[in-house]
């Protein structure tokens, strides 16, 4: 509960890392001569670099913090976000979509939409994307500042501004190239900084078998750890099997999700919407030096992505297992409370000693303002005469029956890392946030400069002008992200919010791309109205549905609660599926009802059937996307089977 003191060595490691990322920015400064150098890297980077940057840019708050939180909440089923919700889409991107993105010479995803459809689609997509990136970045930064606040006792605001400043410096100096290069460095930092914590955690719980048998006990009575409401119980495999609890329906798995929502909502709509159309990741592949490298980028990225669950989900499971082992004296951290709340709590415990039990519990709960564990509070009140204030405080901390899942990762780092390794693990955390932040900022500045500023605000200026605007908007983007970070600080689980935002914007988008890339008859009007309808549809869906346990408001249902889903995740997946189907149907119908504005000749290189197939049979199999993709998919099926 108290913050950890960093030693000299820990700060040195942190400083070395900061020096290197800033140094990379300065080293690349002299190559930044035009807007395309700054915003698109001049298409000059080899595949292994863009591939690792591709996956690293995706590592924001989502990965280390959010996925460990999900690992604790839902167990191994969180792997669906990888083996169902990522790999197939990444393979699809490489084989089918990269040829159009890269071959069309578009500088951004919205620009591709302009080439394929018209300005309206581009405008809608670029504005929605710009808003979304700023939000995603803000969520990531909020999580970072919160962690630094907890771990080091750093001031939240100071941490937020300093980390943003580091990212600002290296992105401003070296542009996209700098972001991509540092992302590769950050990728290795994250893996190498974090692996020992997972190793020590597994060793502590007695390796995989012992962890699993503990989690089986938890699954049958999650209320014992205050993980779920009293009376909730699952099959023994709820935390340790990915598929079996899912097949049992929403009430049989802690995610509260049904099979259709998981496979169609996450595995198809959300996943393909994110990986295949999100410029944040696609931009990395578009910066590759040639078509082969561009297509290999998502495939190279898919290899670490497939293995990441070991690094990010397992810690969450370790945390639950440790909490269930009484001799380990560990608990998943409760929500962070101010020191004054604890002082008030201690006083209330002392005052409660003379009260009858129900009254005593009520008094203590009110003082703490959180859900408390009745048995633990009763025991604490009974012993309060014999305990000193710090012990009562510790007792209160242990008795809080709520969890701050985002704190899981941090609590494990604190538990296992001696000085030295602590600095490394902390630097890894910082690296993951910085890579996500830099990814968002570089995608934002490119879309803003090329797709909004150059397209609508100030066309036909000199390239130097756009170069300077790109740099200026980098600063603005970071400031907007900081504003969003303060906004995000009002929420508890960042993951659910990100899914919601992606649901609004990305879910309908993939329908537009699917029809646009594979159906020449699809028209600009159809795409625009379809996309607009899809986004509106998701907002309406959100306003009419609610997840069980939530009150109408920002979580949905603010117009009228027509349908209640068993969990927020189910609500999000269904929202995405709904938006996708609306967009697909509208685009189809309106396209058939409107005239084509682009000829077959104009659509060459933009639509599958009108583009000559790429010939790569001469290349070695391991350089060709199709065989590589197949190998990855087979690997994915095997992993799903092992952890079924």
């Amino acid at each position: 509960m108290q913050s950890v003191q960093l030693g000299f060595l820990d700060y040195t490691i942190l400083a070395i890392y900061v020096a290197f990322v800033v140094g990379i920015g300065f080293a690349l400064r002299r190559y930044m001569k035009s807007s395309s150098d700054f915003l698109t890297s001049g298409r000059s980077i080899p595949a292994w670099v863009t591939g690792l940057a591709f996956i690293s840019a995706n590592l924001g708050a989502l990965e280390l913090v959010g996925m460990a939180a999900s690992g604790a909440k839902y167990g191994i089923a969180t792997s669906h976000f990888y083996w169902v919700g990522a790999i197939p889409a990444m393979v699809f991107l490489a084989i089918f979509m990269m040829p159009f993105y890269y071959g069309s010479k578009a500088r951004s995803v919205p620009e591709y939409l302009k080439m394929r459809f018209d300005e309206r689609v581009r405008a809608l997509n670029s504005i929605a994307f710009a808003v979304m990136t700023v939000f995603a970045s803000g969520i990531s930064m909020n999580a970072l500042a919160k962690l630094l606040n907890q771990l080091l006792g750093w001031n939240y605001h100071l941490a937020l501004w300093i980390c943003s400043a580091v990212v600002l410096v290296y992105v401003l100096k070296g542009g996209l190239t700098s972001a991509i290069y540092t992302e590769v460095l950050q990728f290795f930092m994250i893996v190498l900084g974090f692996a020992p914590v997972v190793y020590l955690g597994l060793k502590d719980v007695g390796w995989w078998g012992s962890m699993n048998s503990t989690l089986q006990g938890v699954a049958q009575n999650p209320a014992a750890l205050d993980l779920k409401e009293v009376g909730t119980h699952y099959g023994a495999d709820a935390w340790t099997s990915a598929w079996k609890p899912l097949l049992g329906g929403p009430s049989a798995n802690p995610m509260g999700v049904d099979l259709f929502a998981m496979v169609f909502g996450l595995g198809f709509v959300l996943s393909f919407g994110y990986w295949c159309t999100n410029f944040l990741v696609v931009q990395r592949a578009m910066a590759a030096k040639n078509m082969g490298a561009a297509r290999r980028t998502p495939l190279i990225a898919a290899v670490p992505k497939m293995l990441f669950p070991a690094l990010v989900i397992v810690p969450g499971m370790i945390a639950v297992a440790l909490t269930a082992m009484p001799n380990k004296s560990y608990r998943i951290p409760p929500p962070i409370l101010a020191a004054e709340v604890y002082s008030k709590g201690v006083a209330s415990v002392k005052a409660a000693a003379t009260m009858e039990p129900t009254e005593a519990f009520k008094t203590v709960s009110e003082a703490m303002g959180k859900k408390m564990n009745a048995d633990k509070v009763a025991a604490l009140v009974k012993d309060s005469g014999k305990l000193d204030d710090p012990s009562i405080k510790q007792g209160l901390y242990n008795a809080i029956a709520e969890y701050d899942y985002d704190g899981v990762i941090l609590s494990l780092v604190k538990r296992y890392c001696p000085p030295g390794l602590l600095g490394l693990a902390l630097t890894a955390l910082l690296a993951s946030f910085m890579s996500g932040m830099a990814g968002n900022v570089t995608a934002f500045n490119t879309v803003f400069t090329y797709d909004l500023y150059q397209a609508y605000l100030a066309p036909s200026k000199s390239d130097q002008h756009y170069f300077r605007v790109g740099q200026a908007i980098t600063v603005v983007g970071i400031l907007l992200s900081i504003a969003c970070a303060y906004f995000a600080s009002m929420y508890n689980n960042a993951m659910d919010i990100i899914q919601l935002v992606f649901g609004f914007v990305n879910a309908p988008l993939f329908a537009t791309f699917l029809l646009g890339m594979f159906w020449a008859r699809c028209t600009g009007t159809g795409a625009f109205l379809g996309l607009f309808g899809g986004i509106t549809g998701s907002a309406v869906f959100h306003s009419l549905t609610l997840a069980a346990g939530n009150t109408p408001g920002v979580k949905g249902g603010y117009l009228h609660v027509m349908k209640t889903f068993p969990s927020e995740m189910a609500q999000n997946f269904w929202l995405a599926s709904f938006a996708f189907i609306i967009c697909l149907t509208l685009t189809l119908v309106i396209s058939l009802a409107t005239k084509r504005t682009k000829t077959n000749e104009e659509l060459k290189g933009l639509v599958y059937s009108l583009t000559p197939k790429l010939k790569d049979e001469a290349a070695a199999w391991y350089l060709r996307p199709a065989p590589l993709g197949l190998v990855l998919l087979v690997g994915c099926v095997i992993l799903n089977f092992i952890f079924r």
């Binding site: 001049g42 000059s44 030096k289 296992y416």
Partner: protein, 80 residues
């Protein structure tokens, strides 16, 4: 573009690895520090691993610099 990223990666991990190894050797006899890491001198072992990784990156970067213009080197002479 100008810079082979394997140089900074290699340098950084060699540097951090060396620091951890030295610290691990110096503090190896101090059982209290390593109580947290379940009695393992993780600084020493993990530092060694980082050194090996950093060294490997540096070797790759050096080999890349020996054959400029090769198809798989990051600095393939395409910098404008």
């Amino acid at each position: 573009m100008g810079l082979d990223i394997r140089w900074p990666i290699g340098l950084m991990f060699s540097l951090i690895g060396s620091l951890l190894v030295i610290y691990g050797l110096v503090t190896g006899s101090n059982a209290e520090i390593y109580q947290r890491s379940l009695g393992l001198n993780v600084n020493l072992y993990w530092g060694l691993l980082l050194l090996v990784f950093g060294g490997w990156m540096l070797t790759m970067a050096w080999r890349g610099s020996q054959k400029p213009g090769g198809p798989e080197t990051p600095d393939d002479g395409k910098s404008k």
